[in-house]
C-alpha cells in the first residue's frame, strides 16, 4: 500500500475530509483524550509549576546538549552498553541492520517507537529478510493492515473494532467478534509465541539519564518490558534530544507525560534500564543504544525550533488541534503529525517535501495551551514559514513568485493611506462589477462560504462624513 507523503498534503486533505468514518473516529478520540487529560491535569493544583519546571529542565539540557550526551554515553558504556551514533536515518538503519544480520534468521520484536518509524526501519530490515514484529497492540494492528499510524498514542484509532475483527479473521483465523477483550486476548496469544522465539528486541527511548547512563521506557501494555527483557539482544533507538541530566529529574516528566498523553496519573510500567544484565541476572546480554540526529541538531540554532526539541511525544497537541480533528494523522503524510509534527517534519524530511505543513495551521494556539513542556508551537510555525519564504521554497498553493509579488503589493498598498484607498476603491469596484477573478482571495474563499462584501462606505469615510464632526460638537 502506498502511503501519502506530506508533499501531497493539499490532496491528502481532500481525501481525509471526504472520509466520514475517519472524521467520526477522530472527533471521538480527540474529545475523549482531551477530556481525560483535562481531568488528570485538574487533579494537580501545581500543574503550571510542573510545566515551568519541565520546560526549564529541557531548556537547560538542550543548551548544553553535547555535554549531556557525552556524559550519558560514558555512563552507558561503563554499564556495559554499546553506543552507536547516526547522523542520518540511513546511518541508523545501517547500524541496526549490521547488528541483526550476522545473527541469521532470528525473531525480532519491536515495542512502539516513533524514532524507528521515522527512520523507516521495518522496511529496511525486510529488504534484508528480517521481519520485525510490532508488539504494541495498535502498532501490530496497523502492521497487519499495512497502514501508517494515525495517532501518536493510539496508532490504530482510525480502525473500528469491526475492522480489527475482520483483519484478525483474515490473518489469524479467529472467529469474528465485536468484543475488545477477545480481540486483545487473540493478540496476546499470537504474540506470546513471537516473544518466546525472539532473539532481538528493538525499542524506543522516552528519556535517557546522563547521570547514570540509563534509558527510560514508558508504556501500558507490557510489550516493551517483554521486548527489552526476553531477547538476548536489546537495541534502543533514541533521538539526541531525549537526554535529561539526572535520575531525579525524571519525577516531573513522569508526572506530566502520562497525564498529558492518556490522562493517567502514571502509566502501568516505566522501565529504567542501565546496561545489559550480567552474571546470574535475567535479561538481555547485550544492549545497543543508537543515538540519532537526523535533522534535529539544525533545530538547536534558533530558540523557536530548539524549543520544539523539548517535545516528550505525549500527543496532547494533536488532540487539542482543531485542524488535526478535521483531517487526522494520515493527511500530514509524516511520522509526526499534528502541530508538533508540522514543526519537526520539515527538519527531518526537508522543507521541499514538508513545505505545506507549517502553513496548515490557523495559529489558534490550543496546542500551546496543552503542551506539558510549554513549547510555543504557533511561534515555531511562524518561524518556519519565514524560513520557507526566505529560502524561496514554494509556499503552499500559490507559487513562491506569486506569493512574493502578492505580499510586495500588499506592502505597497498598506504603507500609504492614499494607496490603500486606491486599492480598496478598485477592489470595491471590481466586486460590484462581479469581477471576482481579479480578487484571488475571494475566489478561494467562496466555494462553500458566501463571499464577504466590501462595504459601500468604509469606516474612514463614515468617520469623515459623520463621526469626526461629532467630536467637534462634543469638545465645543
Amino acid at each position: 500500500m502506498k502511503h501519502p507523503t506530506s508533499e501531497t498534503f493539499p490532496q491528502n486533505v481532500q481525501e481525509a475530509l471526504g472520509d466520514t468514518t475517519l472524521r467520526r473516529a477522530l472527533s471521538t478520540v480527540s474529545a475523549t483524550f482531551s477530556q481525560r487529560r483535562r481531568d488528570a491535569v485538574n487533579d494537580v493544583p501545581e500543574w503550571e509549576t510542573l510545566r515551568d519546571h519541565a520546560h526549564a529542565v529541557k531548556e537547560h539540557t538542550l543548551s548544553r546538549l553535547d555535554e549531556y550526551l557525552q556524559a550519558f554515553a560514558v555512563k552507558a558504556e561503563a554499564a556495559g552498553a554499546h553506543m552507536h551514533w547516526a547522523s542520518t536515518a540511513e546511518e541508523a538503519r545501517g547500524i541496526i541492520t549490521d547488528l541483526i544480520k550476522p545473527l541469521g534468521n532470528v525473531g525480532v520484536v519491536k515495542s512502539k517507537s516513533m524514532t524507528t518509524e521515522e527512520i523507516h526501519l521495518n522496511a529496511e530490515l525486510e529488504t534484508h529478510g528480517i521481519e520485525p514484529v510490532e508488539t504494541d497492540l495498535g502498532e501490530w494492528i496497523i502492521q497487519l493492515a499495512d497502514e501508517p499510524p494515525s495517532h501518536i498514542i493510539a496508532p490504530a484509532i482510525h480502525k473500528t473494532k469491526r475492522q480489527v475483527s475482520e483483519l484478525f479473521e483474515q490473518q489469524l483465523g479467529i472467529e469474528p467478534t465485536d468484543d475488545e477483550e477477545r480481540l486483545t486476548a487473540a493478540a496476546r496469544e499470537h504474540l506470546r509465541d513471537v516473544f518466546a522465539r525472539a532473539k532481538v528486541g528493538i525499542s524506543g527511548v522516552n528519556f535517557a539519564i546522563a547521570e547514570t547512563g540509563s534509558i527510560v521506557i514508558i508504556e501500558n501494555e507490557g510489550n516493551a518490558r517483554l521486548t527489552t527483557s526476553l531477547p538476548d539482544m536489546h537495541i534502543a533507538v533514541m533521538g539526541i534530544e531525549k537526554v535529561i541530566p539526572r535520575l531525579r529529574d525524571l519525577d516531573v516528566f513522569l508526572r506530566i507525560l502520562p497525564r498529558s498523553g492518556t490522562g493517567q496519573a502514571l502509566t502501568s510500567y516505566q522501565s529504567i534500564i542501565t546496561g545489559p544484565e550480567r552474571g546470574d541476572r535475567i535479561g538481555p546480554r547485550s544492549l545497543h543504544i543508537v543515538v540519532l540526529d537526523n535533522g534535529r541538531s539544525k533545530m538547536l540554532r534558533e530558540h523557536a525550533t530548539r524549543e520544539a526539541l523539548a517535545c516528550i511525544r505525549c500527543g496532547a497537541c494533536l488532540n487539542a488541534c482543531p485542524v488535526y480533528q478535521q483531517i487526522g494523522g494520515h493527511a500530514y503524510g509524516a511520522v509526526y503529525a499534528g502541530p508538533i509534527g508540522s514543526v519537526i517534519t520539515p527538519q527531518i524530511d526537508g522543507f521541499r517535501v514538508a513545505r505545506h505543513l507549517p502553513f496548515a495551521s490557523s495559529l489558534c494556539g490550543a496546542c500551546r495551551d496543552v503542551c506539558p513542556v510549554k513549547i510555543d508551537i504557533p511561534n515555531a510555525l511562524i518561524h518556519l514559514r519565514k524560513h520557507i519564504v526566505s529560502h524561496g521554497q514554494p509556499a503552499p498553493i500559490v507559487s513562491p513568485v506569486r506569493a512574493k509579488t502578492t505580499f510586495r503589493a500588499w506592502r505597497w498598498s498598506m504603507t500609504s493611506d492614499l494607496r490603500y484607498r486606491m486599492v480598496i476603491a478598485f477592489a470595491r469596484f471590481a466586486q460590484r462589477m462581479g469581477v471576482t477573478t481579479l480578487l484571488g482571495p475571494s475566489r478561494k474563499w467562496g466555494h462553500r462560504r458566501s463571499v464577504p462584501r466590501i462595504a459601500k462606505k468604509d469606516f474612514r469615510q463614515i468617520w469623515a462624513s459623520e463621526l469626526a464632526d461629532d467630536r467637534e460638537h462634543q469638545t465645543k
Binding site: P322, S362, K386, R449, R453
Partner: protein, 248 residues
C-alpha cells in the same frame, strides 16, 4: 486615571477588516467609547497592523507595514490606543519579534504596545466599567477569538460586560474557545479545512438555538457568518462593540 472630569484621549485603531468589511463595528466602538466619556481620535492614515505578512512569513513586508502603523499611532499622542480586535491587538505584541534586531523601532513599538488595549480589556481593565448601559433582547452566546483569548488573556472581560446587558440571555456553548477556522491567510490557503472547522462551531451554536453569536474579532464573525449564510442557518453574528453600543 486622573480627575473624573478628565476625558482620556483614545486613538481608535479600527483594523482593515472593520474598515472595509464591517465598518459598523468602528461606528459602534466610537459611539460606545464617547458615551463612556472618551475623547476619540481616528487617524485616517492608518491601514493594517501587518499580521498577514507576519504570519505568512513575509517579515520584510510586515515590518514596513508595522512601521507605518507605529508612525501613524505615534502622531496621535493619545493616552490609549483601542482596537476592536484581539487578533490585531496580539499582532502589536508580535512587533517585538519583527524588530528584535532593530533597537530603535523596538523601543517605539514597545511604547505603542504599552498603551494599546483590545476593546473589552480597555472597558473592564482600564475604565473599570462592567455595565455600559446596553440593552439586547434575545439569547446570545460568546465565541472566544483565539488570539484575544490565548495571546492577550481575554476571557472574563467580555463575559463581565455581556452579563450586565439588560434583556440579554447569555448562554455558554461547548467549544466556545475552539478556533472558528478563520486564521487569517489560513482561511484562504486551506478553505476546506477552514470551512469544516466553522461547521463544528456552527453545529454547536445552532443546536443551542441562540439568536446571536458574539465575538471580539470581525475575522471570526465573517468566517461564521459567511458559512452560516451558505448553509442557510438562522444564526446572526455581532461584534461586542455592536452589542454594547445599543443603549437602554
Amino acid at each position: 486615571m486622573g480627575p473624573s472630569n478628565y476625558a482620556p484621549r483614545v486613538s481608535l485603531f479600527v483594523t482593515c477588516l472593520v474598515d472595509q468589511i464591517r465598518p459598523s463595528v468602528g461606528v459602534a466602538t466610537v459611539q460606545l467609547l464617547r458615551r463612556l466619556g472618551c475623547d476619540i481620535q481616528f487617524n485616517p492614515k492608518q491601514t493594517c497592523c501587518g499580521q498577514p505578512g507576519f504570519t505568512s512569513g513575509h517579515w520584510d513586508d510586515a515590518r514596513a507595514v508595522a512601521q507605518h502603523t507605529i508612525e501613524v499611532l505615534e502622531a496621535d499622542r493619545s493616552d490609549w490606543i483601542v482596537i476592536p480586535s484581539g487578533s490585531c491587538g496580539a499582532m502589536f505584541h508580535h512587533y517585538e519579534k519583527l524588530f528584535a534586531d532593530d533597537p530603535g523601532w523596538l523601543r517605539r513599538a514597545k511604547t505603542i504596545v504599552k498603551k494599546t488595549r483590545e476593546l473589552s480589556a480597555f472597558l473592564v481593565d482600564v475604565l473599570e466599567i462592567h455595565d455600559v448601559g446596553a440593552r439586547f433582547d434575545g439569547r446570545l452566546t460568546w465565541h472566544d477569538a483565539c488570539h484575544g483569548l490565548r495571546d492577550l488573556g481575554i476571557h472574563e472581560q467580555p463575559r463581565k460586560l455581556i452579563r450586565k446587558i439588560a434583556g440579554a440571555e447569555f448562554v455558554e456553548t461547548d467549544k466556545c474557545d475552539t478556533c472558528c477556522g478563520f486564521g487569517g491567510v489560513f482561511a484562504i490557503n486551506y478553505p476546506d479545512i477552514s470551512t469544516s472547522m466553522a461547521d463544528v462551531k456552527l453545529d454547536i451554536i445552532d443546536s443551542v438555538g441562540v439568536d446571536v453569536v458574539v465575538s471580539g474579532d470581525v475575522g471570526c464573525l465573517m468566517q461564521l457568518e459567511t458559512r452560516a449564510r451558505h448553509r442557510k442557518l438562522p444564526v446572526r453574528t455581532m461584534h461586542l462593540a455592536e452589542l454594547l453600543s445599543v443603549s437602554t
